[in-house]
């Protein structure tokens, strides 16, 4: 089991090594002549206004929340999908109930305007 | 159902509740109607209780008018009512005093009449329940439930410090009684262990074999609850507060009936259930009773508030009752029961009288009065009779009770009896001194000279009590005769239950007959 992942680990080491090495090489080779203007945040050439860490639209949070819920539902779908052929009708009904509830949730969010990006 | 054709005791309890229901649907603004309805209901209850009195069979020692119905079978509790010679006088006292208290409230209570009358009727129902319940749980339900209307009576219609007084009253009572509840449960389980039957039936539980050590604990728990209610000497501090703050009718019922529940509790429950422990506790309780007699009297002497004075006199009087109960012979116990009734009548009447004068002058301070006998002759006369009754003047009811108690006690605890006699003298001192300051001498306030004497309604309140005072004083036998069998039964039962190491004093031969016989038998 674990053994089949060995190549992946080697690959990860390889890629990570490559990435770090590249970083290091570019760090070593590139020139460094920092100026105040160069190090300031880029705002199309004018002086930066305020901090970048300000509040952003609440919609992003909403998407995050919806994602978590639906993503976890999908987690349940995968094992079911693999063995659906053996589960037959039983599995089908179970999942239709499950997906039905999910759809009601989606419908609810939809009607409530949770999916509108513009207000 | 021994004699009666119907469940008369339940009717006694339920009738006031029906009255409550009736009152709730009456418009609160129609005060006259409400007052008359309440009076009618309580009067009806009085009539019913007179039927009980008439039909009561004095020869029977056991419970009469018994009603029994299944209530909570799983914990062995049933709806079990009955009356015997011990509870009958108190039952009558209750039904007699309540209409009077209601009548007395016609003028004293100006606001929230409807709620007031509802409370009075609830209280009536609860008080009757306490005296007729023969199942421990049922008794407890009435015992505690009755607190609710009393709590409102003091708290809503009371004097300036009513909230403090009412909370103190409830908390003191609760503190004692919850332990009693535990003791009741423990008793039932102990009984179950020995007999295999879980029951809260008082008659079943009496005579059970409980070890001496356990009896002491259980008796202590019961005793504490009752002693607080009586109230006995160290637990009495709630009483003056409650009395002073309560409205007149509240005081009447509090002094007249509620305090008797404590002494009744001792007789009905603590003694027969735990005879050996009762004997063991006798010295302590008798001593406390005597201390209470003297302490109450001495403190009463220095009061300048009439109500507070009467309140402390109650502590003293109930000391007599306790002393008599723990003498455990027939004279003393019957004297105690009689004295309970007497105290209810005389103290109730005193509170009524004080209420009447308070309605006129809005003060109860002794120093405010003086020379009232000239302006209020009828009032003064009534006051005199009642005061004499309270002191124990021969020919009035108080004398009979105290005499029986003292002679009964003298047989067994000479020392206590002698000291207690001192209490009688002190009572005469503080009562007469009070009467003198209020009724004689010069009036210290101009208002006193222009007061109206008591009118017809007020006479109607007082006359029945005074008649009863005289009747019991001159002919106590009808009442005493009804007690005999039950009291003897009670004391015999204790004697049988007690083992050799503790001794219930033997009863002297009891002579039946008229007033003369009674005095002879005491010698």
């Amino acid at each position: 089991m674990l053994f089949s992942y060995l190549p992946i680990f080697i690959l990860i080491l390889l890629v990570a090594g490559f990435a770090l090495a590249t970083l290091f090489v570019s760090h070593a080779l590139g020139p460094r002549r920092p100026t105040q203007a160069k190090l300031a945040p880029y705002e199309c050439g004018i002086d930066p206004v305020g901090s970048a860490r300000e509040r952003f639209s609440v919609k992003f949070y909403l998407v995050a929340m919806l994602f978590i819920i639906f993503d976890i539902e999908i987690v349940f779908l995968y094992p079911w999908a693999v063995i659906l052929s053996s589960l037959r009708l039983f599995g089908l009904i179970e999942m239709i109930v499950f997906l039905g509830i999910l759809l009601i949730g989606l419908l609810y969010v939809w009607r409530r305007g949770g999916l509108e990006w513009t207000t | 159902m021994s004699q009666a054709g119907g469940p008369i005791l339940s009717t006694l309890i339920v009738l006031p509740l029906l009255g409550v229901l009736l009152l709730t649907i009456v418009d609160g603004a129609r005060e006259g109607l409400i007052k008359r309805l309440a009076l009618a209901v309580s009067g009806l209850d009085l009539l019913l209780s007179l039927i009980v009195y008439v039909r009561f069979d004095p020869a029977q020692a056991g419970m009469q008018f018994v009603e029994r119905a299944s209530w909570i079978p799983s914990i062995g509790s049933s709806y079990f009512l009955g009356v015997d010679g011990i509870s009958l006088p108190l039952l009558l006292l209750t039904t007699f005093l309540t209409p009077i208290a209601i009548l007395a409230s016609f003028s004293g209570i100006a606001s929230r009449v409807k709620a007031y009358m509802i409370c009075m009727l609830l209280l009536l129902s609860g008080m009757i329940g306490v005296f007729v319940a023969l199942d421990l749980v049922l008794f407890y339900v009435f015992w505690e439930g009755m607190l609710i209307p009393m709590y409102f009576l003091i708290g809503v219609w009371g004097g300036p410090r009513r909230i403090y007084a009412t909370l103190k009253f409830v908390l003191f009572t609760m503190a004692g009684s919850v332990l009693m509840l535990l003791a009741m449960i423990a008793l039932a389980f102990l009984h179950q262990e020995s007999t295999g039957q879980l029951t809260f039936d008082l008659l079943e539980l009496i005579g059970g074999s409980i070890s001496y050590g356990t009896q002491l604990w259980l008796f202590a728990a019961f005793g504490l609850a009752f002693a607080i209610k009586v109230p006995m000497f160290p637990f009495h501090t709630w009483l003056p507060d409650a009395h002073v703050e309560a409205p007149t009718a509240g005081s009447v019922l509090l002094a007249g009936v509620l305090l008797k529940m404590g002494t009744y509790g001792f007789l009905r429950f603590a003694l027969p259930l735990f005879p050996e422990a009762a004997v063991a506790f006798t010295p302590l309780i008798s001593a406390l009773a005597v201390i209470g007699i003297l302490y109450g009297a001495l403190v009463a002497m220095v009061q300048d508030d009439l109500k507070r004075l009467i309140a402390y006199s109650s502590v003293s009087h109930l000391g007599f009752v306790m002393l008599g109960i723990f003498a455990m012979n027939v004279q003393a116990v019957e004297g105690s029961i009689l004295q309970m009734v007497n105290h209810g009548l005389s103290t109730g009447a005193l509170f009524l009288l004080i209420g009447m004068i308070y309605e006129r002058r809005h003060t109860r301070m002794i120093e405010e009065f003086g020379g009232l006998s000239r302006t209020l002759p009828r009032f003064a006369l009534c006051f005199l009779v009642v005061t004499m009754s309270s002191i124990g003047l021969p020919g009035l009811n108080g004398f009979v009770g105290e005499f029986l108690i003292l002679t009964g006690t003298f047989r067994v605890h000479k020392g206590f009896a002698v000291i207690a006699t001192l209490g009688v003298i002190l009572a005469a001192v503080y009562m007469l001194w009070m009467w003198q300051r209020v009724m004689w001498g010069k009036s210290r306030r101009a208002e006193n000279l222009t007061l109206n004497d008591i009118g017809c309604r007020e006479m109607a309140i007082l006359v029945p009590i005074i008649l009863l005072i005289l009747w019991i004083g001159l002919n106590p036998n009808p009442l005493l005769r009804r007690m005999d069998a039950s009291v003897i039964h009670l004391l015999d039962g204790m004697r049988i239950a007690a083992t050799s190491e503790v001794q219930i004093p033997p009863s002297p031969p009891f002579v039946k007959g008229g007033w003369g016989d009674l005095v002879r038998s005491a010698n």
Binding site: F3, V58, Y61, M65, I68, V75, F76 | -
Partner: protein, 103 residues
């Protein structure tokens, strides 16, 4: 090549993670960090379940982990919603400053 890692190692690891989560909840003041610490606790428990599942040769533990994950996700969603609602009304995520209700 398949060296067996003893069960105790997994259990100790998950216990340590759990305790780190507990400490995080107790000493950190930022709501989001506390929230993450709670998630850490849940995942530590998941590790325990999986380890036991493997050790006991029973699938139950792994299925339970799925349930727990779903629950944790729901908790996150609800939690985020609550935190946002709070943040809109009061611009602070420090639990010491969220003290309108006297504790």
């Amino acid at each position: 090549m398949t060296a067996t890692v003893p069960l105790s190692a997994y259990l100790i690891l998950s216990a340590v993670l759990f305790v780190i989560g507990v400490i995080g909840v107790l000493i950190r003041r930022n709501v989001l960090v506390i929230f993450m610490a709670i998630e850490l606790m849940l995942n530590a428990v998941n590790l325990t379940f999986v380890a036991f599942s493997r050790f006991l040769h029973s699938m139950d533990g792994q299925i339970i982990v799925l349930f727990v994950m779903a629950v944790a996700a729901a908790e996150v969603a609800v939690g985020l919603a609550i935190i946002i609602a709070l943040h809109r009304n009061k611009e602070s995520l420090n639990v010491d400053e969220i003290n309108l209700l006297k504790g």
